[in-house]
């Protein structure tokens, strides 16, 4: 049942992904830039970029471009679909669904996974590859290795995952965080020696990034980000925090906001939009579903933690404990990576771990709260609470589909104006190959068939986005 539910959910997500064209923003320019370079030149050209370290991302873009045989959309979409399939595969494996009760809790967790606002970042855009889903898959795969019986293969695979992840995206070190956290809560699949090797690799990465090449991290004020009830532009960040010497407050705000966004579904990209709605009395259905879903999901985690606190103090961790604790550690580490600016996409790996933790807590609640010793009223309250939470997360999952329709329409619009966009960016291709590539990509975008938003009723939209 778990495999069926996961396969179906993955299929629905993949169908939404493949119906949409490749986006232009953050996608077309990298494709054009790597077009006339060799894979090696691409790799070497990106190993010392200021602020960011993602050489493998560009290499993947290059390899897919060259290997596509002219079917660019197919190549990039297929790559994305493979990672979506992989994400659901490792999600099921790590959850360890054994009983019918587990399967019901797992169905619940599936809508938490796909209903999380952070999940959107893993599926609605390609840059031209979606590197956020790659990091999520590598991190969960690392946890799977930690759950294994171990051995040289597990150690080697963990190290390879770490290297690939760190070369792909700046949040790649999360793989190391997962392995270390897993070991601390009793998962020995990756041996002590394996962890030591990975720690050595992490040290080398840090030395390379912050010492040798001084790549550093994105500067505060480099991008706009949410702050309080509004969004602040780089110039504001400079004026309010950098020039006043209060940058640490800004960093702290970002980290706390990013961490809270996993457990409260708020803020979104650093902006406390739901809270603002509640404060101003502008409450639409989406606000209610977000609040109910977060309260129930995180409420289950809190109840679970209270119940298991004695066991945790005695360092006794079962499978459910491990999933919950690793989730908190990953969320903390992931949030720390948002110190410069808060972006939901960056938190997508923590979002997947949150869904796993909710699975563990739900399974535990179903088991424990329906014991014969529990009063019927308490069991009924739990049933109502879970139903409300399940319904709210399901609405958010359907909202994901709606958002995919929206982005599909927006992407198609952009492709119709691609020449103007490239001119605005001062990126108009000058070579015949570059011009031909843009024309081919536009022709492929024309052939895409995203479902239309037309017949989504107005009342339904209010459940999916804040207007």
């Amino acid at each position: 049942m778990a495999w069926s539910a996961a396969s179906l959910t993955a299929l629905v997500v993949c169908l939404a992904v493949v119906r949409n064209p490749l986006q232009i923003t953050d996608s077309l320019v990298p494709i054009l830039k790597v077009q006339d370079m060799s894979a090696w030149q691409v790799l070497m050209g990106k190993i010392d970029s200021g602020g960011f370290f993602r050489p493998l991302r560009f290499m993947q873009i290059k390899l897919l471009l060259d290997g596509s045989g002219g079917h660019y959309n197919l190549a990039y979409k297929l790559f994305h679909v493979l990672f979506i399939a992989a994400l659901f595969f490792v999600f099921v494996r790590v959850a360890r669904v054994r009983t019918k009760n587990d399967a019901l809790a797992f169905t619940y967790a599936l809508v938490v996974l796909t209903g999380m606002h952070t999940f959107l970042g893993m599926v609605w855009e390609e840059y031209a590859i979606n590197h956020f889903i790659e990091i999520a898959v590598f991190s969960i795969a690392a946890l799977l290795l930690c759950q294994s019986h171990g051995g040289v293969i597990a150690d080697t695979a963990a190290a390879v995952l770490f290297v690939v992840a760190t070369l792909t995206l700046d949040s790649g070190p999360l793989v190391w965080v997962v392995v270390v956290a897993a070991r601390l809560v009793g998962l020995r699949g990756v041996s002590r020696r394996g962890v030591a090797v990975m720690t050595g690799l992490l040290a080398a990465y840090m030395f390379y990034r912050f010492g040798l090449f001084n790549i550093g991290a994105p500067d505060a004020g480099e991008r706009a980000t949410g702050f309080g009830f509004s969004r602040i532009e780089p110039a504001d960040i400079q004026r309010r925090f950098v020039e006043t010497g209060r940058l640490y407050y800004f960093h702290l705000y970002n980290v706390v906001s990013a961490f809270a966004s996993i457990f409260l579904s708020e803020p979104t990209n650093g902006r406390w939009m739901l809270t603002e709605r509640v404060v101003t009395g502008n409450i639409d259905p989406m606000v209610i579903t977000s609040i109910v879903s977060a309260l129930v999901g995180t409420g289950l985690l809190v109840l679970f933690a209270i119940h298991r606190r004695a066991a945790w103090a005695a360092r006794q961790f079962d499978h459910a404990d491990q999933l919950v604790i690793i989730c908190v550690v990953v969320a903390l580490a992931n949030a720390a990576m948002c110190f410069s600016y808060v972006k939901d996409d960056i938190m997508s790996t923590a979002g997947v771990f949150y869904a796993l933790a909710v699975f563990a807590a739900t399974r535990d609640a179903l088991t424990r709260w329906s014991q014969p010793s529990r009063p019927t009223a308490a069991t009924a309250v739990l049933g109502l609470m879970l139903f409300a939470g399940g319904a709210a997360w399901t609405i958010r999952t359907i909202g994901l589909q709606y958002q995919m329709l929206r982005i599909g329409a927006a992407d198609r619009y952009e492709w119709a104006h691609v020449d103007e966009w490239l001119a605005q960016q001062d990126q108009t291709p000058t070579t015949p190959q570059g011009k031909g590539l843009v024309q081919d990509l536009r022709a492929e975008a024309m052939r895409t068939r995203p479902l239309s938003l037309l017949f989504v009723p107005r009342w339904a939209v209010k459940w999916f986005i804040t207007e």
Binding site: A5, L110, H417
Partner: protein
């Protein structure tokens, strides 16, 4: 290792199992319902039945009405006449179904960028079409489109909207 994630059905006294099952079902009721609906939609889609339109289902005026510029471009590049009136299904610009040109559909939807886009790609905006489009925009209250169309108007042009009517009466 402690394992407490599995229900021990053997220890459950008679009568409590139903409650336990009910709680589990309550948790998964909505997600399961979504999975069933999604399955039905996927299967229906494979069989050719879908409640959703795709760009390929749209006429050129409909593509203009919904601001699908890429579909407009595709159809014009496929030699569809950008001035031909075709049906615009109910729900796209108004509750009723109408027959209109792409430019009229763009005006009816209030999309000035689509009016510009159509004009750039061969839709006729001249002394024959301009009066009705401009009057249409004014009657619609589409000020931005009216301003844009006025810029295309010859300086000696005198606009008379007396005989111009909206395609709908409500």
């Amino acid at each position: 290792m402690v394992h407490h994630g599995v229900i021990g059905a053997a220890t459950t006294p008679a009568g409590t199992g139903t409650t336990r099952r009910d709680v589990a079902l309550a948790a998964s009721a909505a997600p399961a319902a979504w999975l069933i609906v999604a399955t039905a939609l996927v299967i229906a889609g494979w069989m050719g039945y879908t409640p959703f339109l795709t760009p390929a289902d749209l006429t050129l005026p409909e593509a203009a009405a919904v601001r699908d510029h890429l579909e407009i471009l595709r159809q014009i590049e496929s030699s569809v006449d950008p001035n031909r009136a075709e049906r615009v299904r109910s729900g796209l610009v108004r509750p009723g179904e109408y027959r209109m040109t792409p430019l009229e559909a763009a005006v009816a939807s209030g999309h000035v960028d689509t009016v510009e886009f159509l004009h750039q790609h061969g839709a006729r905006v001249d002394s024959a079409t301009l009066p009705s489009l401009l009057c249409f925009a004014q009657l619609q209250g589409a000020d931005e489109i009216a301003t844009h169309l006025r810029k295309l108007m010859p300086s000696d042009f005198i606009l008379k909207c007396d005989g111009v009517r909206l395609p709908w009466t409500d």
